[in-house]
Amino acid sequence: DRISELPQRILQQILYHLSQEEAVRTSVLSKSWRYDWCAQEFHLRISLDDSEPASASLLEKWIPTLTNKCMKKFCLSIRSEHDLESIHPPSVVFEAELLQDLQVEELTLDRKAIDRIIHFKHLKTLHLLDFRIVEEIFRKIISRFPLIETLHVEDCRGLRKIEVNELHCLKDLYFIEYDLVERDEECRSIEVYLMQRWRSRNWVGPSFSVPERRGESNTHAVMCDGFWRFDVV
């Protein structure tokens, strides 16, 4: 039939215009369609809510489906609807090996969570927003994402020091400290450690942004030799 015989480039363009569910559903059409959808980029945005288990179960359905295939790009954004610090990301998130882009918002990442994190060899962007984390956990999380290129850390309570020396691919570090209005003493001063040996043949250095809040920032960049841009937004 004509549609199945179209070149992959065109079929991919057609699948691109379908919703993600519909693109996956085409795998049932015939054998030649079985894996066509895998070459698409997938973006999942999920709100987790204790009172609504459906969203977590949706995640449990999607992630294994996507992880088994050779996805072109897989991006995930999860957040909790409430400011409840007790909500953990479902463990299935940490099994999504092919994930390239992860955004975590208002969730708790603690020892319980990191025990389950596998090595994310494909993750290039990590965006951590509005959550509580301690330095040790942060360091462990970072170590599981060795190829990270973009790291955004925003409003994270409990984090005083960011060390990114081991992130050899880092190109963009964006950091906004926790709003000090709650007088959380433990994050009065934050130090960001950058490495000196960001020098490879194609070295451009990461860009590093620290937006200044309320005219008074307690953020210091330490060992900032070698970065390409320093923005105080």
């Binding site: 004509r2 549609i3 199945s4 559903r25 049932v28 059409l29 015939s30 030649s32 359905k61 489906t65």
Partner: protein, 163 residues
């Protein structure tokens, strides 16, 4: 490219069934394939387009002329594309998308792909197979297994008798 001053340049395109078409260079260069030929100075004589038949080429040229007559206004261009494709059947759309791919016309390729996707939207597997003549080469067991794997993507889809 050595554009002559004053008169607009016209190119001659030849389909694979030997039909000749004249088209203004300014419209024809919507095709990156043709634009490259023009820029490399190999568009002087007749440009043979071996992968496009006369009927499809006529349609593509209508599109080239139509869309290049619209000034930079994405809304108007979009509504022109929608109208242009509205009465085309799938066979014609398939010819157009193949031609757009060969001629490297991303805006046409995208518009036709979207139109084909629109036909498949919210339809059952059985309906899509019938519509496009796709032969189901799964055994019933294999099909059930694939469906089971993606079971949840079938939630809320219209079902029909053979599905």
């Amino acid at each position: 490219m050595a554009a002559e001053t004053g008169t607009p340049t016209t190119l001659t395109l030849k389909s694979n069934d030997d039909e000749l078409f004249s088209v203004a260079e300014s419209a024809a260069i919507l095709s990156v394939t043709i634009r490259n030929m023009v820029e490399d100075g190999c568009a002087g004589g007749v440009i043979p387009l071996d992968n496009v038949d006369g009927k499809t080429l006529a349609s593509v040229i209508t599109y080239m002329n139509g869309i290049s007559a619209i000034p930079a206004d994405e809304e108007k261009k979009k509504s022109y594309r929608d109208k242009f494709l509205s009465d085309k059947d799938f066979e014609t759309l398939a010819d157009m998308v193949l031609a757009a791919n060969y001629l490297n016309m991303s805006c046409l390729m995208d518009a036709v792909s979207a139109k084909i996707a629109q036909v498949m939207e919210k339809k059952s597997v059985g309906w899509v197979r019938r519509k496009f003549g796709i032969e189901n080469d799964y055994t019933p067991e294999e099909e059930a297994a694939v469906k089971e794997e993606h079971k949840w993507t079938f939630e809320g889809v219209e079902t029909d008798d053979d599905n």
